[in-house]
């Protein structure tokens, strides 16, 4: 009897395992295969691609990457993307953490109101302010300048940044700050030497989240930038097929170049990326 029960348990566990993998393997395949295909196709010649989309390349055509990098302007878009992303991350962290410090550790009349206004920003659909923001940028003569992207990405990144940083700083014990005050520290020094170093994990989450969002952003770039020399990667990719008709191998190489920084980040900081993106998505 007991033996039979054990055998039944065993059978059940095997069935469960088989069932699990029967569900997960196709799912993993569907997630991954397009990317594998992208990588394979990026190494084929365009002639091979038109003959068959399944075949492996006979020869590895790394020149697709060189061509995309040089002739298709990917190097330019890449450096624009880096400038925009790095500067906007820096500004988001700076303005966001300073505001979070004030909101979490100071008492003043409009505190709750200001906090709420920032948090509501997380629910505003970007598209609903595309037109007015375009007009705003035109008024400020910022169209076709990387600053239009840097400033709008920062402004749009602030709500999530403040949400994450404020809730992290709020739980810091006040004794730390009291001790610092007794030592004669100014508020700015308490911020830069006590609060900011203590907030490192939250700053890291915000950095990763901001990096991913701004590196991938397309709508604002589409509307603010028309000059070739100011385009970021997503916008440059969008125009790729317009200029390089039917160069699918080149396109795939360009897509890989654009994705590589994000992909490398994901491989090394997977937990933080997932945590940051879900925190950024779920928000309040």
């Amino acid at each position: 009897m007991a033996y039979e029960k054990k055998a039944g348990d065993c059978m059940r566990r095997i069935t469960a395992t088989v069932f699990k993998h029967a569900m997960l393997i196709p799912a993993a395949f569907i997630s991954l295969f397009p990317l594998v295909w992208m990588a394979i196709t990026s190494l084929k010649s365009n002639q091979e691609i038109s003959f068959g989309s399944f075949s492996l390349p006979k020869q590895l055509h790394f020149e697709n990457y060189v061509e995309a990098w040089n002739t298709a302007n990917m190097s330019l878009y890449f450096s624009n993307s880096i400038i925009v992303t790095v500067v906007s991350i820096f500004l988001t962290i700076l303005a966001g953490s300073l505001a979070s410090f004030v909101l979490s550790k100071f008492k003043f009349r409009l505190r709750n109101f200001i906090y709420t206004i920032f948090i509501i920003g997380m629910l505003i659909p970007m598209q609903s302010i595309l037109v007015p923001l375009f007009i705003q940028m035109r008024t400020l003569h910022l169209l076709d300048s990387l600053w239009s992207l840097i400033l709008s990405y920062t402004a749009f990144g602030l709500p999530v940044a403040i949400f994450i940083l404020e809730s992290f700083m709020r739980v810091f014990p006040d004794e730390i700050m009291e001790a610092a005050i007794l030592d004669g520290c100014t508020q700015l020094r308490i911020f830069s030497e006590v609060i900011l170093p203590m907030s490192r994990p939250a700053v890291a989450s915000v950095t990763i989240l901001t990096f991913l969002n701004n590196w991938k952003e397309f709508s604002f770039a589409l509307i603010f930038i028309s000059e070739e020399s100011k385009k970021t990667l997503p916008l440059g990719l969008y125009n790729f097929l317009g200029t390089e008709t039917n160069n699918y191998a080149g396109l795939m190489a360009a897509l890989i170049i654009a994705t590589l920084p994000v992909f490398i980040t994901y491989i090394f900081l997977q937990e933080q990326v997932i945590k940051g993106m879900t925190a950024g998505a779920v928000k309040g």
Partner: protein, 293 residues
């Protein structure tokens, strides 16, 4: 706490950069767009006040309604596609087993890609000449199914929604997985002592405990779907024959292709209102449902 009750200067200085940027590039433009919605303006000449005329024209435009229905379609596909698929994967992955973290990493990968990359990759995969989907169908003898997926008004919208599913399901999987892992172990242990089966536990214990997360995810689905613009814009630009037109692409075309800034602002306002309305309605419905559980 009020360590620095009298540090008005620092409070102001500390908030100034964030508030300044936020007002200049988020709050102020929103209020301005409320205003422009009531004007006829081509962006160059002086705006002319026309009252509710823009809104009347929007409501009379069949293309707008088409885009509205498409948006609803995306919302429904997201809620009834992404959430269940994400939930199933999360439930399976919530039990520790070998390979569990591999599956989790792989299923999340589409989320980290730029939407433009996703759009261009899938456009190529679905391309009738060089794409792999049609070649596969031909290879297994189903040439009749090898359609021009994005070029045909009948298939374009479902195809786009399929790509949206591909991209975002991983996000909901991770959200649900985190929520399941937050359920105290004692609850599971107690239920397994009571001889509750796996399925019963899922239906009577796990799902009810996850309800707040499901609620948040529905809101996320709605706001995310109402925002979708990039994918459709890059894959189809709203075509063919407005088959994949979304409210955001409609707004884009009206504003930046035919320079009707006032009209575009009015559309923005409508999108804004509809998304908030849907989010509130979604929350209300879910709360009601929760009351009956």
């Amino acid at each position: 706490m009020d360590l620095f009750r009298r540090n008005r200067r620092f409070i102001l200085l500390g908030l100034a950069p964030a508030l300044g940027l936020y007002f200049l590039f988020v709050i102020y433009p929103i209020f301005r767009s409320f205003l422009y919605g009531f004007y006829d303006w081509n962006g160059l000449s002086a705006p002319k006040f026309i009252g509710l005329l823009n809104f009347k024209e929007i409501l009379k435009d069949p293309v707008f309604w088409k885009s509205f229905l498409n948006n609803i379609f995306v919302v429904l596909v997201s809620i009834f596609g992404q959430l269940p698929l994400g939930m199933i994967s999360a439930v399976i992955l919530s039990r520790k087993f070998r390979g569990e973290s591999f599956y989790r990493s792989v299923l999340f990968i589409p989320m980290i890609l730029s939407t433009v990359v996703v759009a261009l990759l899938w456009s190529t995969i679905l391309n009738p000449q060089v794409g792999i989907v049609n070649q596969f169908l031909k290879n297994i003898g189903l040439s009749s199914l090898a359609l021009n997926w994005l070029g045909n008004p009948a298939t374009a919208m479902p195809t786009v929604c399929g790509v949206i599913l591909w991209q975002f399901t991983g996000l909901y999987m991770v959200i649900f997985l985190a929520a399941i892992q937050n359920i105290p172990k004692e609850i599971h242990e107690a239920s397994s002592l009571d001889g509750v089966t796996e399925i019963e536990r899922l239906v009577y214990i796990t799902l009810p405990l996850l309800w707040p997360t499901v609620m948040a995810s529905v809101v996320l689905c709605i706001s995310g779907s109402m925002r979708s613009f990039d994918l459709v814009f890059v894959m189809t630009e709203g075509g063919p024959a407005h088959a994949t037109e979304l409210m955001a692409t409609y707004m884009y075309n009206k504003t930046f292709a035919v320079y009707k800034y006032g009209y575009g602002s009015a559309v923005s306002l409508v999108i804004f209102t509809i998304s908030f309305g849907m989010i509130l309605a979604g929350q209300w419905l879910m709360k009601k449902k929760q009351g009956t559980v």
